[in-house]
Structures are given as C-alpha cells and as structure tokens.
C-alpha cells in the first residue's frame, strides 16, 4: 500500500496558562489514507479541535505549543516547513471547514468573492493576488465578475449543491441560511484544490435534516474531488454514517482506533464501550440512558496513566502505567492495559475481561 496521505506521530499540544500547563493533546498518532474519511470522535474538551488545528498549525503561540515526532503530509514533515510554505499548504493542500458557518464567513464580503479569493491565492489564475491588487478589489472596484476565479467560485457553488449559484454568489453571508453557508464553507475549502479537508464539527451548528444533506454532500465530493477528509465530531451517529475509519479521543489521548464497522460492532476499550451504551436506541425500552459516571479529568498537570481510570468500571492497579496501544484486531488498536499480554494471561483464570458490548449497529 502506498504511503498514507497524512501521518501524525505522537502529537502533543499544550497550552501554558496561569494555572499550569494544559496538555490538550497528549501523544496521539494516526494516519489518513488517500480518499478516506477518517473520523475523530470524543467529548467536549477531549482535544479534537486542537488536533485539527495542530495539523493546520493554527494554534496561537503563545500560549499554545505544538510538539510531535512528525506530522507528515505527502511524506513531508509539516513541522519543518517555513511560514510561507505553510501558507501555501493551508487552503492549497489542506483546508479546513469550521463548526459555525454563522461566524466563519466574513460578513462584509459576498460569498462568491470569498470563494474566488481562495482560488486566486492557490490556483494559477491570470489574476494577481498581490496586496495592492487585492486592496483595489476590496475597497475600490469590487471583484470582477468576468474573471476566472469568479467563474470557478460559481462552478464550485453549483457543485456543492447551492441553488442559483449565479445569484447566490452576489449575496452576503447574512442573506443565506445556515445550511447554505456551510455549503459555501465547503466550496471555499475546495476552491484551492486541496487533497485533505479537515472538517471541525461541520454539522454541529445545523439541524438534523440539513446535517444529513451536508454529510451526503461531503461523501459525494470526496469521490468527485478525490480528497481525504478528517471529520471531527462528538456525534457517533455522524461517524457511523460517513467514516471509513475512526479514532476515539478522551482527555487528549487516543483510546481506540480502527475501521468504523469493527469499532462499532466490537468496541475493545471500556471508554468506547461506555460511549456506545450511552447512545439511545430506537428499539430501546430502557427508562434511563446509561451515562458514564464522573467527569472528564482536569487537563492541567495531568497525571500519567490512563485518563479514564477514575470512571472506568474495569480499573485496576495497572492503569497508572503510561498508556500503550495494543493491537486488538486487524488495524484495530485500543489503548487499555486490559489488552496487555500479562493481564490477558492472568485473566484466563478469571472470566471478567471487558465484555464486548453488543454493538449498536443502527443509529438514531
């Protein structure tokens, strides 16, 4: 198999705050293949968004510091790139879709112009994207509606399923609905012809019916543009619908990763199992949903060992050891010491190994 498109090795991002060091992402590794949709799922504050922004190097520093053994994109380490090279990659090779389409578009520019701008930056259009010509476009003449970049914008708006792209391109973000704005964001992300899109909770701010449309759109565009997608969400349903593989994050660490089907059917990590149990089922006759007792640990000066041990029903003394990822299946790993060889040997006497939960295969 060819080398993966994106390889993140041992990414650690922390923020130095007055209260101490917040280790938002604590040593995670994963890879994204060509044309794949890779899901990252986790609770609020588990470090999903920080992971996304670390890949793009959009962490404000100070207070943020990105450390990693490597973040390899197409075989090249992004951490060794110079700022101008990074700016070329942002939007041109890797682009990002943000959570809230209400605030991620500039309110004083037409949506067409905001898409065209990206095309001018990253594609070989005949138009200059120098500072003064952009200033002239913004403050004096307005964008040309005959230009190559404008035509590209309209073409993209059509492809992401915006009706009437010719008219819509002239409108301002406040004139569009949330779903349409998110489509504009997607068009903007595609405008530089990237090979990877990092979508940070792209549907969280939308209602469910629009969410379904947008996800469907993402799946189609993946094939059409041959892009890979890193889809970040807290919604297991979204992951189940769209992702080829997924990683479960908790308190800045990867708990489990594997193919979507495998993880959903046979979750190996107690945290993943607990997550699955807390999903309401349409066939449920439970009166109360299962919840995970306790809350996410404080990330300030986080102690070593499994961050989930305080809430885990299988916790044992080995949980304070630093986490290791164990292979638990084909391309399926779980960071839980219950899967270590010693424990397994011990457990052959006792039958109390974490029961694989009967995975919910249907989503609400």
């Amino acid at each position: 198999m060819a080398e993966p498109l994106l390889e993140v090795e041992n990414l650690r991002t922390h923020f130095d705050t007055e209260d101490g060091r917040v280790q938002a992402v604590d040593g995670i590794s994963f890879s994204v293949e060509h044309g794949e949709i890779f899901g990252v799922v986790g609770e609020s504050g588990s470090g999903k968004s920080v992971t996304a922004r670390s890949i793009m190097q959009l962490i404000e520093s100070p207070p943020g510091v990105i450390n990693a053994d490597a973040i390899r994109f197409k075989g090249e380490d992004l951490l060794e790139k110079s700022p101008p090279e990074i700016r070329e990659i942002r939007g041109g090779e890797i682009s990002m879709i943000f959570q809230d389409p209400m605030t991620s578009l500039n309110p004083v520019m037409t949506v067409g112009e905001q898409i065209a701008e990206v095309a001018r930056h990253h594609l070989d259009t005949s138009e200059s994207s120098g500072f003064w010509s952009e200033m002239k476009r913004k403050y004096v003449t307005g964008a040309s509606h005959e230009s190559e970049s404008w035509r590209r914008a309209i073409e993209l708006m059509d492809m992401v399923g915006l009706p009437d792209p010719e008219q819509r391109a002239h409108e301002y973000p406040h004139q569009l609905s949330g779903g349409m704005r998110q489509r504009v964001m997607i068009a903007q992300a595609l405008a530089g012809d990237p090979s990877l899109i990092v979508a940070d909770e792209p549907t969280t701010a939308l209602d469910v019916s629009v969410e379904a449309q947008i996800l469907h759109e993402l799946l189609e565009l993946r094939d059409e543009f041959d892009v890979s997608v890193v889809l970040i969400t807290h919604d297991l349903g979204v992951i189940h619908e769209t992702c080829d593989r997924l990683a479960v994050m908790y308190a800045g660490e990867l708990m489990e990763k594997g193919k979507t089907g495998d993880v959903f059917e046979d979750p190996k990590h107690p945290y993943t199992q607990a997550l699955m149990k807390s999903i309401p089922q349409i066939t449920d006759d439970r009166e109360w949903l299962d919840v995970i007792p306790g809350s996410v640990p404080d990330l300030v000066d986080k102690p070593a060992g499994c961050p989930f041990r305080e809430r885990c029903e299988y916790a044992f003394e080995g949980c304070t050891e630093p986490l290791v990822e164990y292979d638990v299946g084909e391309k399926h790993t779980a960071a839980c010491h219950l899967h270590s060889d010693e424990v397994n040997k011990e457990l052959t006497d006792r039958p109390a190994a974490p029961e694989s939960h009967e995975g919910p295969s249907e989503q609400v």
């Binding site: 959009l58 605030t103 309110p107 520019m109 990206v118 403050y139 903007q188 530089g192």
Partner: protein, 307 residues
C-alpha cells in the same frame, strides 16, 4: 426628495444589489435614506454639509469678487442684498467672497488633517490590536504620549520650525487626531480578530498582513468613517482656534479662523467681520455633527436587526 435622490444614486453606483463601497454592505445607502426620511436632524445635517461642500467646490463661481481685492469702501455693514451682502472688512474686502473662499480652505484643512490622522492612526490601531503583546504595548504607549500633546503645542512647534503656512494646521491637527483613530481601530480589531472568520482566513493561507487589511479592516470601516466625520468638525474648530491665535495659516489666507482673527480688533466698530465667520463655523460644525450622528445610525446594524 433627498432620500429619493440618494436611492437613485445608490442604485446607479451599485448597479443593482451588490456593492463594495469601501467594503461596506450594500444597503448602507438605502438605510441612510430611510433614516433621512424620518429624522429631521439628519436632514438638517445633510443639507448643511451638502451646501457647505457645494460652496467650497464652486467657490470661484459663487464668490462675487476676488477675496483679496481691497477696492471697496471700508467696513460696510451687511445689507444682505446689493453689492456686498455681508459687508466689507477693515481693508475694504468683500466679506461674502472671503467667507466663500474660506469654506474651501477650512474644509480642505479639516479634511486633510483628519486624513493625516487616519492614515497613521488606523494602521497603528490595526497592528496594535491584531498582533497584541509587546507590539500593542509599544504602539499604545506611543499613542498615550501623543495624547499628552495638545494640537496647540504641536502647532506652535511646527510654526517655529516651518513658519506659517497651510501645512502647519494640517500637520498639527492631524497629529493630535492620530490617537483617536488608533484607539478606535484597535478596539474594533480586538473584537473582530476573535471572530472565527479571521481564523478561517488563516486556514486558507492568508498572511497576517493581508488578513489585517483585507479581512479585518473592511469590518472596522463603519466606526472609522463615523469618527472621520466627527473629527472633521473638530478639526475645523481647531483650525479656527489656531488661526485665531495666529499660529495657523498666514494672516492673508482667508480661512474662517483667520477671518475671525482679523475682525477681533474691530469688534466694537464692525461686529460683522468676526461674528459672521464665527456663525458660519458654528453652523458648519453643527451640520457635520448631525450628519455624523445620522451616519452612525445608518451603520448601527443592531438597531435594524441585521448582522
């Protein structure tokens, strides 16, 4: 009537729905005309600004005589009709002609002084607000220092170095206005840079410089423009003060301030030489301030429910 005119103009200018009028959203002119329709103050303000601007632009056409010629009887009282409607001054110059040309100079000085303040203050505020940290500290302490210098002091300094000329009040007043623009811009930028679209701009590969001027500045234009208007009124007043004190333009240059100054010695014999320019300054400043208020309303998106 005026609002209909503005509507037509705005449609002409924008060719329908879309504009990039200084990066401001298209319906600004529409909204302004709506405000004009219901707001008497705005109507008065706009009328005064329009009339004074027209007088300033067409001064050579409107003025009946050369403002410098001294061929008329000395100190004629205003008759409001006839050859010298506003009378003549102590050198026998036609006061109406001098006031008309004075409009040109006073407005020019006012507008260019504010332009000077804007051109320096706005980029300072942008940098300070966007970069934060030590850049912010450095620039804002500079602004604080500037704040401590009144325009008067700078004008005296400039006159001492450069001698009297029209550039002295422009520089002195402009310098004193830098801090206003820097502060206002910084305040706006501080809130805008937290908006997700600046992060989005970064995520599409824009550099900090481009983000500042292309993404953030267009969102801060509204308050800056309002400040520009209000500052122009203040600049005209300050110019009058400087000229009155004799540290502005040359005494022969007919700005409104220097007209005031010339009448100072004759206030008991010929009140009109100083009172008339004084009244005109007052009306103009009032008009500009009213206009500025209307502009502020037009920009105030919260009031009209849009974002």
């Amino acid at each position: 009537m005026i609002s209909r005119l503005i509507n037509t103009v705005s449609r002409r200018l924008t060719g329908g729905s879309e504009t990039h009028l200084f990066g401001i959203r298209s319906n600004l002119l529409e909204r302004f005309s709506r405000i004009l329709k219901r707001d008497r103050k705005a109507q008065v303000g706009l009328s005064i600004v329009a009339v004074v601007s027209l007088i300033a632009i067409f001064a050579p056409v409107i003025a009946p005589y050369d403002p410098m010629s001294q061929n008329f009887p000395v100190m004629q009282p205003p008759t409001f009709t006839g050859a010298h409607p506003l009378g003549t001054d102590s050198f026998g110059r036609d006061l109406l002609s001098r006031v008309v040309f004075g409009a040109r100079l006073s407005l020019a000085v006012g507008l260019s002084a504010v332009a000077f303040g804007t051109l320096i203050g706005v980029p300072m505020g942008l940098y300070a607000g966007y970069y934060g940290g030590w850049v912010d500290d450095l620039l804002m302490r500079m602004v604080d220092t500037m704040w401590a210098f009144p325009a008067l002091l700078i004008a005296i300094l400039a006159v001492a170095i450069h001698g009297q000329s029209i550039w002295v009040p422009i520089f002195a007043i402009g310098f004193a206005l830098i801090d206003d623009f820097a502060r206002i811009t910084r305040g706006e930028v501080l809130s805008i840079r937290e908006e997700e679209y600046t992060l989005a701009a970064e995520s599409i590969g824009m550099g900090k410089f481009k983000i500042m001027f292309e993404e953030i500045l267009p969102n801060a234009v509204a308050p800056i423009l309002v400040q520009y208007t209000v500052s122009t009124a203040r600049a005209i007043l300050t110019e009058a003060t400087l000229s009155f004190l004799g540290i502005g333009v040359k005494i022969t240059t007919p700005t409104w301030g220097s007209l005031l100054r010339q009448g100072r010695g004759f206030i008991q014999q010929a009140w009109w030489i100083s009172i008339i320019p004084g009244l005109i300054i007052m009306i103009t400043v009032l008009g500009i301030n009213l206009f500025g208020d209307a502009l502020r309303d037009a920009f105030d998106v919260k009031e009209s429910g849009g974002t």
